[in-house]
Symmetry: C2
């Protein structure tokens, strides 16, 4: 997506297209691996050292409120973001914690009975299991290369 399109997207929601905001939005649209706020900050701050941490967080919040970006639900402590393009499901690896996108397919909503007066906007699937890299190992060595540290209580 080109610059003008991003600008339009932002302005359509009432947000000014500042250089900082543009940079954050543009980064998110180019990275579909659910970066954390810290990762986004590191990347955009390297690209443009003017961009401060507070601004990164402010802009992420603004973009989420505007509906241009979503905060994905994960077990980790750091919030992860995703420029809402096409909808997709998520796969979370039990062993390495990695989160991957799974192509969208519609899922059945619970019965009206189970939902009561709740109003449903969307239904997303969280699939758990072993990712392509971890599946062959099954339950051998505890953790693969880059992952959640997970250093249990290794004690002394």
């Amino acid at each position: 997506m080109d610059a003008a399109a991003i600008r339009e997207k932002l302005e359509a929601t009432g947000l000014r297209c500042t250089p900082q905001r543009y940079t954050v939005m543009s980064f998110l649209m180019a990275h579909h691996d659910h970066p954390t706020a810290a990762e986004i900050f590191a990347a955009v701050n390297t690209a443009d050292p003017r961009l401060s941490r507070a601004t990164t967080y402010n802009n992420l919040r603004d973009l989420v409120e505007a509906g241009l970006v979503r905060e994905v639900a994960t077990e980790g402590r750091a919030a992860r973001y995703d420029a809402t393009g096409e909808q997709h499901h998520h796969f979370i690896c039990d062993r390495c914690g990695k989160m991957e996108d799974i192509p969208w397919h519609p899922v059945p909503s619970p019965t009206a009975n189970a939902l009561g007066k709740r109003v449903v906007r969307e239904c997303e699937l969280i699939i758990r299991g072993l990712c392509t890299q971890c599946a062959p190992h099954r339950r051998t060595t505890p953790k693969p290369p880059t992952s959640k540290p997970s250093n249990h209580r290794s004690h002394n």
Copy 2:
């Protein structure tokens, strides 16, 4: 579930049934509202002041690793826990952020094609929308009583 049953559950996974661990497990089995680690600590520490914060976190991690407890995926920053009893889906309110359980119903796994070599353990639904309390309001006042603070950049 009585004390002996909890003890057996713990010992079946190789964990000692210490008073502290028992207290944490027992609390989680009695509360199905996805308490945060901080809430769990506050509750168990009040019940038994010997129980320290580090121990609460250590035990939660041990229980999760043992598969007796799960850490639920949420957008919030604090991890939330759930004693794995019967499976259920989750509903997250867009407006107040509350997470509620939805009775289980089986959901279709994605096609083998979309999954590749991944091994699926379970599929959980995350349903988003407006909860019973928030639905009537639709998009009127920004937030209900007890919720995510959400105090945007209110500035000066």
